[in-house]
């Protein structure tokens, strides 16, 4: 593959913007060579090694290796269709619900392989929660939305304990003051931003270790977005957060580390500051400077 990469290096490097001594390039199919930067951390919460994802015959993710640290926000950016959402959904095995999807490689949570046949997805998803692109509260009351997870996992014995979990979760999500007087009203009646924070509270209620967020603010207005971003910053103290986003400013604001995906490959990982000020890969630089994507 390396000689293949060299053969087409020339035309790309004719672009004067790139310094060929530092920046690697892509092969004929746009596949990217080795990830550059620092994908692995000490004391990781989750580790991913050589992860391949296929939808039927088509390969969506190609040999991705990355760690998720404790108490950090890891942002995943990249152009549409680069596989960042697919990869995110591998982390709590949401891709299991897609029949044609096949995941290879190793993903661990606290050192345990989550794709091991002995692992049941139900407790896994309680430990790795997920917040989706569009707010998707259940058509139930606000209270029942939060109580859903604790109920199905049998986390509480009494009504009092459940009330407490609901209150704590809503407080952590910064929604308590806004909804405490109308817990019995339907969750679908809240505004978009409130609904998204409700979904975050719902994920928190089952006590996860990692929260996956798939473009959580793309359906929200700027004020609601600011509130969710504030919330993410607070949640970092207790959870590991992996966020997929299209808004680069958002990645810059909320995350400590940033990973840049391109056509199913992980191109570059580094501290958010380094990625946005001094990208080492020309694809990363092109993307964050708005040259494509």
């Amino acid at each position: 593959m390396s000689h293949l990469a060299e053969t087409i290096q020339a035309p790309i490097q004719t672009t004067p913007a790139h310094d060929s001594s530092v920046k690697t390039s892509t092969d004929l199919h746009g596949k990217v060579g080795k990830t550059i930067g620092t994908p692995f951390v000490d004391d990781p919460r989750m580790t991913c090694r050589d992860v391949d994802v296929f939808y039927g015959e088509a390969q969506a993710i190609n040999k991705v290796g990355i760690d998720v640290g404790c108490n950090e926000v890891l942002a995943m950016i990249g152009p549409s269709g680069c596989g960042k959402s697919t990869f995110l959904r591998c982390l709590n095995r949401m891709n299991d619900t897609v029949a044609s999807c096949r995941v290879e490689g190793e993903i661990t949570l606290d050192g345990v392989d989550i794709y091991h046949p002995d692992i049941d997805v139900v407790p896994l998803r309680a430990r790795v929660g997920m917040v989706f692109q569009k707010p998707n509260p259940f058509p139930k009351s606000i209270y029942d939305n939060i109580a859903y997870g604790p109920r199905i996992h049998g986390l509480t014995g009494t009504k009092g304990e459940l009330d407490e979990i609901v209150e704590i979760s809503l407080k952590k999500a910064g929604l308590w003051e806004e909804v405490k007087d109308r817990l019995a009203e339907p969750g679908t009646g809240l505004s978009g931003g409130q609904q998204q924070r409700l979904c975050i509270a719902r994920a928190i209620a089952v006590g996860p270790e990692v929260i996956l967020m798939d473009e959580p603010c793309s359906a929200l207005d700027p004020i609601a977005t600011a509130k969710v971003e504030e919330l993410i910053a607070e949640l970092r103290t207790q959870y590991s957060i992996v966020i997929v986003t299209h808004a680069m400013q958002q990645a810059a604001r909320v995350s400590q580390r940033t990973a840049y995906f391109h056509l199913g490959s992980l191109v570059e990982v580094g501290s958010t500051k380094q990625i946005f000020t001094n990208p080492r890969h020309h694809l990363t630089e092109d993307y964050i400077t708005g040259r494509f994507g």
Partner: protein, 461 residues
């Protein structure tokens, strides 16, 4: 004869008019500097001319035919020999009928010579009239086409004219459906009013005994006629309830299985199979109920020491339930499918299992729509006729025992109206009253069901 080829000829003229109109529009476009100078497309001008050719001719045709009969009748009566003239309107109509039958050639008995003569005269006048109409039509069509032809100018808004006519035609079609419904409803209401003049409304609605045989002559004994509809409605609801007890669980659970658990391949095979059930004619279900299920139930009832009527509510209800299964499952399946994938993802993302997701998220979310579907199915069950005619029996028993024979509204309507009946006795008019109540009931059910379904649809948008 020209008359036989009139309509094909008219169509040929219409096609020609289309060509001519289109040609003229194209030529005008060329004269005025390009197709963009025309207000409408050449086809619109052609269509306009075709319609101008066809519509007035059809209108004339329709009017002529509707007026022709009465004009002919009155002329024939005028010319009848005095021996055939009668003061009685009924006898007069009979004579006209005889003449017309002779004209169309379906007479079996030997006719009076004067009637034969009148028939020949009738035929002659009719032929003359038809020829006149043909000539009129064949003059009118080119004339109206010519007027349209003259109207074709680049600024003429042919598209608006054509589309206006098409819209009117669409309106006419939907009006046919609506007016028919209104007509049926009105006829049922008027007949019912006649019935309620003879039998008081409260006797009908709250009477506990149904025995519609009336004495035709004053000296006839026995049949007094009792028109208490309660046993019939009780029987209807009993059978519908049994049907729903079968159809709701089976239909709903199969819908849940098909939409949430079944593999794609299984679903593509089984769903059409289930819908074939809906395609079986109800009369086939009827003899299945009467000849297979009813004896089976009677015999197995006998095995347990129960006395089961050979025409039991249970047999009819069970088979009707089977018939309604695809109705419930198909509607429920649609509703369950309409639950957004995002809700399933949200539930799975919290670590819920498939069963928990179905039970706690999908089913509650789909419930209003399912209720709407079930209500539609109920109104279907109440209105169903063939199965109950064949399997439920005629005895108007007021009972809640599904092993006994009961009767339903639809069965009674059938028995009241089948055979030679006089249409002014309470017995036959009772059918209209029953029909009216049935109509009102299913209408209310349908309105509620549609409102529930619509409200549910808006929930995710």
């Amino acid at each position: 004869m020209l008359y036989d080829y009139l309509l094909p000829l008219l169509l040929v003229l219409t096609a020609a008019a289309f060509m001519v109109g289109r040609k003229r529009a194209l030529r005008m476009a060329a004269d005025y500097g390009g197709i963009r100078q025309l207000h409408s497309l050449p086809n619109h001008y052609g269509s306009m001319m075709a319609l101008a050719c066809l519509l007035p001719a059809l209108l004339l045709y329709g009017i002529w035919l509707s007026v022709e009969t009465s004009v002919l009748d009155s002329r024939i009566i005028h010319e009848l020999p005095p021996t055939l003239l009668s003061q009685d309107a009924g006898a007069q109509a009979l004579i006209i009928n005889d003449i017309k039958n002779t004209v169309s050639g379906n007479v079996t008995v030997n006719q009076d010579a004067s009637i034969e003569a009148a028939a020949a005269r009738y035929q002659a006048i009719q032929q003359k009239s038809r020829s006149a109409m043909c000539i009129g039509l064949l003059l009118l069509a080119p004339l109206s086409s010519f007027i349209a032809f003259r109207a074709i100018k680049p600024a003429f808004r042919a598209r608006n004219v054509v589309e206006g006519i098409i819209r009117a035609a669409l309106l006419l079609c939907s009006a046919v459906a609506i007016l028919t419904t209104v007509g049926i409803l009105l006829s049922v209401i008027f007949e019912s009013i006649r019935f309620f003049k003879m039998i008081p409304l409260q006797d009908f609605l709250f009477g506990l005994s149904w025995s519609p045989q009336m004495a035709i002559r004053a000296d006839q004994a026995g049949s007094s006629g009792a028109f208490g509809a309660v046993p019939i409605f009780a029987g209807t609801f009993l059978i519908a309830a049994i049907a729903m007890l079968v159809a709701i669980p089976i239909g709903l659970l199969s819908a849940i299985y098909l939409s949430e658990f079944a593999s794609r391949g299984f679903r593509t095979v089984v769903k059409p199979l289930l819908e074939i059930l809906a395609g079986i004619p109800t009369v086939v279900y009827g003899f299945f109920a009467a000849l297979t299920v009813a004896p089976l139930i009677r015999e197995s009832g006998g095995f347990f020491g129960l006395s089961v009527a050979s025409e039991s509510a249970l047999a009819a209800g069970l088979v009707m339930g089977i018939m309604i299964i695809p109705f419930v499952s198909s509607l429920s399946d649609d509703v369950i499918h309409a639950v957004p994938q995002a809700l399933r993802d949200g539930s799975y993302g919290l670590g819920a299992t498939k069963f928990e997701t179905v039970r706690l998220v999908i089913f509650p979310a789909a419930l209003p729509g399912i209720v709407g579907g079930v209500l539609l199915a109920v109104s279907r069950a109440i209105g169903e006729t063939m199965i109950v005619v064949m399997a439920a029996g005629l005895a108007a028993n007021l009972t809640a025992n599904p092993l006994k024979a009961v009767t339903t509204v639809t069965v009674q309507i059938v028995t009241l109206l089948v055979g030679d009946q006089e249409f002014d006795s309470p017995k036959t008019l009772a059918a209209f009253a029953l029909g009216l109540i049935l109509f009102i009931f299913t209408l209310i059910l349908n309105v509620i069901a549609l409102r529930v379904v619509r409200k549910y649809r808006e929930q995710y948008e």
